[in-house]
Symmetry: C2
Subunit: 353 residues, 2 copies
């Protein structure tokens, strides 16, 4: 599988990935290499990863607690303090081995430590492989507000090793798959139709490659999200608000990121049908596809009010307007669409039908 190489970063796959990583470490002469893991990837992925490293380096392992709830400035400060204690310097590097929490937080920690050290992402979840680890968005949450604090900064490289997916359960895989379905919705109706038929994740490597290619093609054209890159936020405006609300609420089961944006993609599908001409049949296709894969979530009226009140913190907003990415049709997005709030309530009714 060929590497995907852009002007600012490259994504490598499988054996080729390890080969490129080994060459990079060999030539970079890092003073020290820090591997950031959580307790899961420490146990499940680190041994296999270390078995594929050829050189003899001064590695230090830094473990953080797993879970979105720990993706915050407090955890960053702990990691910065450990880096200082372990004598990290500007010529040190950080390898982020984990899911989106590890790659997002690790990328931010590295980007700010002594005003920036090199980092490398080794995503271990499907979600991180197709989304979080590529594109240079680093950051952490601020209370319930997702990714409010961060910078855009590219890793030295991303290495995708689909073998790590064997450490995940079905629910985690489905969560990542939601982002892949999004890639179809915003860019490629054929890819959407292919993905809909996927029933097993055993041969997913080629699809991961397609998803990373779609994301990269978008990011390269607009790295700092001035225009085109916004399309990657389809389903995320309402999806993030749903995710934030469930993360903070004591009474609700935690929703995985993909599960939340699956809800968001149905809701924003409805808005698309009403505002940007998404045909009814395509809306129904979107709803059925997601409800076949992801358990339907029940929202009380008070839940919906709380979720909508979180929308004002969305990063795409400006001048008090909430800007949505909607669809004119599957594969054909529209950016910066303003949505009246009564339509959002209707969207939740449509979802519940």
């Amino acid at each position: 599988m060929n590497s995907i190489i852009t002007p600012t970063y490259a994504v490598h796959f499988n054996e080729k990935g390890y080969e490129t990583l080994n060459k990079h470490l060999d030539k970079s002469n890092y003073s020290k290499i820090f591997i950031l893991v959580d307790e899961n990837t420490h146990n499940d992925c680190l041994p296999s990863f270390m078995g594929n490293i050829e050189g003899d380096y001064d590695f230090e392992i830094i473990e953080i607690e797993a879970g979105e709830i720990n993706k915050n400035i407090g955890t960053c400060t702990q990691v910065w303090e450990v880096l200082s204690e372990l004598d990290a310097d500007r010529k040190s590097a950080m390898i982020n081995l984990g899911g989106g929490v590890v790659t997002d937080l690790g990328g931010f920690v590295a980007s700010c430590f002594k005003r920036g050290i090199d980092f490398i992402n080794i995503p271990t979840t499907l979600l991180a492989m197709v989304d979080a680890s590529v594109g240079g968005k680093t950051g952490v949450d601020l209370g319930p507000l997702k990714n409010q604090i961060g910078v855009i900064n590219q890793p030295q490289m991303v290495v995708v090793v689909p073998e790590f997916l064997n450490t995940l359960n079905e629910r985690q895989l489905q969560s990542g798959f939601a982002e892949m379905l999004k890639h179809g919705l915003i860019r490629d109706v054929k890819y959407w139709n292919t993905l809909k038929k996927v029933t097993s994740f055993d041969d997913i490597s080629t699809l991961i490659y397609t998803s990373v290619s779609i994301k990269n093609a978008v990011v390269v054209q607009d790295p700092t999200e001035q225009h085109l890159r916004k399309i990657l936020n389809y389903g995320h405006t309402l999806g993030h608000a749903v995710e934030s609300y469930f993360l903070e609420s004591q009474d609700h089961e935690l929703l995985l990121h993909g599960e939340a944006i699956a809800v968001g993609m149905i809701l924003e599908g409805y808005l698309s049908h009403k505002l940007t001409g998404l045909p009814k049949a395509e809306l129904e296709d979107i709803k059925m596809t997601f409800l076949n894969r992801y358990k339907k979530v029940t929202f009380a009226k008070s839940d919906i009010d709380a979720i909508l009140s979180l929308l004002k913190f969305d990063k795409k907003n400006s001048h008090g307007n909430i800007n949505f990415v909607l669809l004119k049709g599957i594969g054909d997005p529209a950016i910066d669409v303003k949505v009246p709030s009564n339509l959002m309530l209707e969207a939740f009714e449509y979802y519940a039908e």
Copy 2:
């Protein structure tokens, strides 16, 4: 006084500065403008600043506590939370009105909020005018370790209004003057000789202009400090360690930044004499010039040990080596010089003589 314009940012002076700022605010259509101040600049500088703003904007004032001790991630988190509460979005901007703490911290806060919003620096201390506010180094301290966390990111513009210096006392002015003396030492022996003779700060505008020009000429050639920019750290390797130690210590009076690097420039002058050929007469000139302006600091043996142990956190270090900027002569620096620790002890003896 002409503006200093570089490819990535510009520094404007006096009335021309306000004029350019007013034009910038007029054309930028910011959704909201946040002015970051501390309690001092809130009282002493904000009224005059607001009097010079022509348009009618949606301003919000955010006040932080004054002092280096508050330049930390905790304060950043407070400001980020206030920005969120006050509905800041990606099209909002931040004006940092204050000394180095406000411009360093404010620049970092803005650079990370929703992955980066515009910011403008209005330095109100001599130190911030000639050093902190220009060059794009943003950041905060991590415990006693100065500027460990930050990013390099340029403001939209810097506006230098020397009138704000009237709000400072003699000691604060002298602190900023130490950085100007450093500009002479690393780049221009004539400028050094001019500065030595300065006895009043009444007509300092032209000298500020020269200092900003020297700093900018260096930064433009090497914005991310790979080589040339390191010369700006002359006096700062030991000076920062002295400053950090006095900041944390309960038993010592607080040293201002310029006072600490004045000590550092004498100490590193001694190292320069021993290692890079700084002539004895020039070393004596440096020592006398600084001791004439800055009160001599007394260091116990235990102080010196603690200060030297902080050196390992210096950002210029790599691979366990402490890298110094030294002088071959006044105006002629050498970078990446390794220094044996016994020489550092001798340097403190020379300082105490």
